[in-house]
């Protein structure tokens, strides 16, 4: 191994330079996921649509612009405070479409079922999924069912694909943020991740934490009507920090965020403090972060606050010319730190 300093030799074997097997961190949405996409999927599949690395692709079909997305859901437990895997699948797919400004129309659903799953449990999830689709105004138009041996899946996995139409004149992408843009967050962060985590670990916390799972396409439609939106992300895996890093990198802008402006519920904050986690990196399923043309920020903010999914919306920062690709956080006590992509899932710290 060579280093920049010839007087300094590395005799230590690099322990885990490149992994030979898939580990959980490859699914964390952080650096390991990015590495897998960059080194394995893009070389095989790469094209002008995929290379944008947005949560959806916008393709042309005749005169129409169609948004397509697909998403796999493997959450444990299947039912958690505030939602379940079925509802989550519908909302996650609708939201991935909405982040391009698209009006979601149709979904597909593929079920991988583990031998031994109670039909009643499946039925409950399917009913919830149907209700969520109806409420969101999307139709599940095709599907698939497979059953695997006991132990080959964890009860139930769902994969959904969504299709929507992008309205004329709308051009939203993680690569379109510009210096001067205001950064708007649609509400509190960390609710979904901590709701699932508390339920999974059987934590008894004061005041139960509910998942924020919700469809966001109506909120997005109201925002588009109110002003010019450049970039949108729903901060799911990897949390708000990851979405901000992705937009900063995709658009080559600097981003400056005020930690004190970011709303976090007391019970979520408490759970994160106890467990040694940072809410900035915890998953959300009903929130978005928007980069909005500066002059339109106030009107977009007002339109967001008028929607139920955006009533706690707040401006948390801005995009700047300096330090392109980098997100800076002004800390509560007046210091500054850099927000970077997580390298793997958050691990509980020892003390």
């Amino acid at each position: 191994m060579s280093t920049t300093d010839p007087g300094f030799t590395l005799s230590c074997p690099l322990p885990i330079n490149e992994r030979k097997t898939i580990v959980l961190g490859h699914g964390s949405g952080g650096r390991l996921t990015a590495q897998l996409i960059r080194d394995l999927f893009l070389p095989a599949f790469g094209n002008e649509f995929l290379n944008k690395l947005d949560d959806q692709a916008v393709v042309h079909a005749g005169d129409a612009r169609i948004a397509i997305t697909t998403d796999g859901f493997v959450v444990t437990p299947l039912v958690f405070p505030g939602g379940d895997i079925g509802k989550l699948a519908v909302h996650g797919t609708v939201n991935d479409l909405a982040m391009s400004g698209a009006r979601p129309l149709y979904l597909s659903a593929a079920f991988i079922l583990e031998e031994g799953l109670a039909i009643e449990e499946l039925s409950q999830i399917v009913r919830s999924m149907a209700e969520a689709a109806k409420a969101a105004g999307v139709t599940i138009v095709t599907g698939d069912t497979k059953v695997v041996n006991r132990g080959s899946a964890d009860k139930l996995f769902v994969t959904t694909t969504g299709v929507g139409i992008v309205p004329d004149g709308v051009n939203i992408s993680a690569s379109n943020a510009r210096p001067g843009d205001r950064v708007i967050l649609s509400g509190t962060i960390g609710d979904h991740g901590m709701a699932v985590f508390s339920k999974r670990e059987g934590l008894e916390l004061e005041g139960s934490i509910l998942s924020d799972t919700a469809p966001l396409h109506e909120l997005v439609a109201a925002m588009i009507a109110a002003g010019e939106i450049h970039a949108l992300r729903d901060p799911t895996r990897g949390g708000l920090a990851t979405s901000l890093c992705e937009i900063a990198a995709g658009s080559r802008v600097g981003v400056e965020i005020d930690a004190r402006a970011i709303p976090v519920r007391e019970n979520v904050r408490g759970a994160c403090e106890i467990l040694g986690m940072d809410p900035l990196y915890v998953a959300n399923e009903g929130k978005l972060v928007a980069f909005v043309e500066r002059s339109a920020a106030e009107s977009v903010l007002a339109a967001m606050r008028a929607c139920p999914e955006g009533r706690d919306s707040v401006i948390i920062g801005e995009a700047v010319e300096a330090h392109g690709g980098m997100v800076l956080l002004k800390t509560e006590i007046g210091g500054t730190r850099i927000l970077d992509l997580p390298f793997t899932e958050q691990l509980p710290r020892i003390c």
Binding site: M1, T3, T4, D5, F8, T9, L10, S11, C12, P13, L14, P15, I16, N17, R19, T21, I22, V23, L24, G25, R31, L32, Q35, E201, E266, R269, G270, E273, L275, G276, H323, M326, L328, T331, E332, I333, G334, G335, T336, R337, I338, L339, D340, F343, T344, L347, P348, R349, I350, C351
Partner: protein
Amino acid sequence: MKFLDEYRDRQIAAKLVDEIQRIQTKPWVIMEVCGGQTHSIVKYGLDYLLPAQIELVHGPGCPVCVTPLEMIDRAHAIARRPDVIFCSFGDMLRVPGSNGDLFQIKAEGGNVRVVYSPLECLKIARANPEKQVVFFAIGFETTAPANAMAVWQAKAQSIRNFSILVSHVTVPPALTAILESPGNRVQGFLGPGHVCAVMGSREYEPIAARYRVPIVITGFEPVDLLEGVMMVVRQLEQGRAEVENQYVRAVYSHGNTGAQRMVESVFEACDRSWRGVGLIPNSGYKLKDEFREQDAERIFAVGDIRTREPEICISGQVLKGSKKPHDCPAFGTQCTPQTPLGATMVSAEGACAAYYNYGRHLVTIGGRPGAV
């Protein structure tokens, strides 16, 4: 949030910084002992709020970082066994041994679980009577009482399929080793708040007196840390070398005597190797002979696994405070949390990981890496 927001208050922090500036006349080198303190300092950018002549160096108090490589190899040998459920605190999963990490072992079929408390392992042991449940008991005096309690309860409840792999270390011998090491630069300590919540502050008094160093037992929030620095600087400027307690809401001079009794009934002192530092006499705990049935090292006969530490990686010097993470040319390039060369990069509490996670490899402004 009560008991948190007041310790992250911007105005109070600014006043403390002003006071430090007012009283400080000479350059001073202060070590924060705990990994949790390092984490907070870097997370909130506290070192950059301080006058440039106050240098904070990061101490050995990250339990994951100081666990020797051979102990990790022993843990992995046990975790690979098909008859074992191996339980660990979360951030130990990423620590590389000579051949992979616990993530890898899990991916290859090992039954590896993250627990928040060793007492959870007793439940797992009861639910899986056909398996051996092993807990990786690492850490300082802070984690020792709960680990002792798990062993004690397993014996009391006749749970025969639970054992612990012990790699416990204690703080005072490490401070002595740092102060006696040639080229030591440390002039004052922010003492380990949570260790002292268990052990009290009395055992630090002989160290302060013998080596003429101020030791201020300090908490983990920004205001705690700034106040701790202020108290150390005040002592240094006045030529005093005493043990003082900043963390009064958690630490009593006699500590938590119930927890101490539990530790004493299960563990006894022993020599321990510290990763990157080497053997320090009487610097850890091992199980007493009456608890040998709960000693995983004996049960699985892994005591013979010996591994030499890699020679590179300045983590030993980082842990002793004689080097900073960015003094290493591999920092942030060859050595990242994803591909750690040394333990200080592995744990979130390790100085290198704290520097990396808060982006200090990305920019250098005004000679201070990451200062923006």
